[in-house]
């Protein structure tokens, strides 16, 4: 068991290492389930008797669907944390909002990529402009890419955390509008009302899908935890650097020089002291 004292130089703790190992093992099991134990999606047409369905492309959904759900969960957490920033104004909420936004954006990009790759064989197109969920996800990705760009600008962190909180909340509020507008814009969707309902769901398929939620839940949990610690360290490092820089300057300047620099004369010092 690697405790803190043996490995002081990492952001891992015993709990997070255990979580990471379980997540990795779970990913391996999910791979076996998705690629070897579950069958392809093959349905027989009731009248013509032809075979149709997604065939083996359905195995992409064990990746795409949980990532999409967790992406939305991450952004919801980010919105909640942003409310926390505005109400509580403590660094914890700010680091939380930043972490969940970054992890959510990574997931969002992957959801777009895997969806596009899945759509090519199943919908016969890489990209479908009229699809509501696809376009909403794209705008969501762009909104949070802007959020992360804002967070990369170097300004006063106190100001930045409020600005970022407002941007995150506006982004989340904007999502229903984007969704509605795209839905009316092109009144068609390729996304099945529920992909899950249409599939010939066997017990094992359903189990694999549920297991994929669990697996990616653990992966995202681990990533968010690590990202939170990195964010926390970043703040601590800045505070520490500023604090020690001030201490250094103090130590090399005499008290008289300091008073002179800020315009305090000897008389004022005399008046101020009882």
């Amino acid at each position: 068991m690697a405790g803190r004292d043996e490995r002081p130089g990492t952001t891992g703790s015993r709990g997070s290492r255990l979580l990471g190992c379980v997540a990795l093992a779970s990913l391996v099991v999910l791979g076996v389930l998705a690629f070897f134990l579950t069958g392809p999606d093959v349905r027989i047409h009731p009248t013509t008797g032809e075979e149709f369905g997604q065939f083996d492309a359905v195995r992409m959904l064990y990746l795409h669907v949980p990532m999409a759900v967790l992406m939305y969960a991450s952004f919801m957490l980010c919105a909640a944390a942003s409310v926390g920033v505005l109400v509580k104004r403590t660094p914890w909420w700010d680091v939380m909002a930043h972490s969940t936004a970054e992890v959510g954006t990574v997931l969002c990009g992957l959801v777009l990529v895997t969806g596009s790759i899945w759509g090519r064989p199943v919908w016969n197109t890489w990209w479908e402009w009229g699809d509501v969920r696809l376009m909403t996800t794209l705008v969501l990705f762009l909104l949070f890419a802007g959020y992360l760009a804002l967070r990369r600008t170097t300004t006063d962190p106190r100001r930045q955390e409020r600005q970022a909180a407002v941007v995150a909340l506006v982004a989340v509020l904007d999502i229903p509008l984007v969704n509605r507008s795209v839905a009316w814009w092109e009144n068609r969707t390729l996304h099945q009302r529920s992909t899950l309902e249409e599939l010939k769901i066997e017990d094992l398929t359903l189990f694999t899908l549920m297991f994929s939620f669990l697996t990616f839940g653990l992966v995202v949990w681990w990533l968010t935890l690590q990202r939170f610690r990195v964010g926390w360290l970043e703040r601590a490092a800045i505070d520490h650097a500023v604090g020690s820089a001030i201490a250094d300057r103090r130590s090399e300047t005499s008290a008289d020089e300091l008073d002179a620099a800020i315009g305090v004369t000897d008389e004022q010092v005399g008046e101020a002291s009882p």
Partner: protein, 52 residues
């Protein structure tokens, strides 16, 4: 297996990106932790998070 190329691409890209992101986080943490004194590494001792 049908669509093997698509499946490999989708799963491959996702695992590589997530793995790369995880590695980057760990390395960023390692380089940052050197800048922070021991008493500021809060999550290691504060209650409510993982405790050793």
């Amino acid at each position: 297996m049908t669509h093997l190329g698509y499946l490999m691409a989708g799963w491959g890209i996702s695992l590589v990106v997530l793995g790369g992101y995880a590695v980057r986080l760990v390395r960023r943490g390692r380089s940052l932790i050197a800048l922070v004194p021991e008493d500021r590494r809060r999550w290691l001792e504060s209650p409510g998070t993982d405790r050793d």
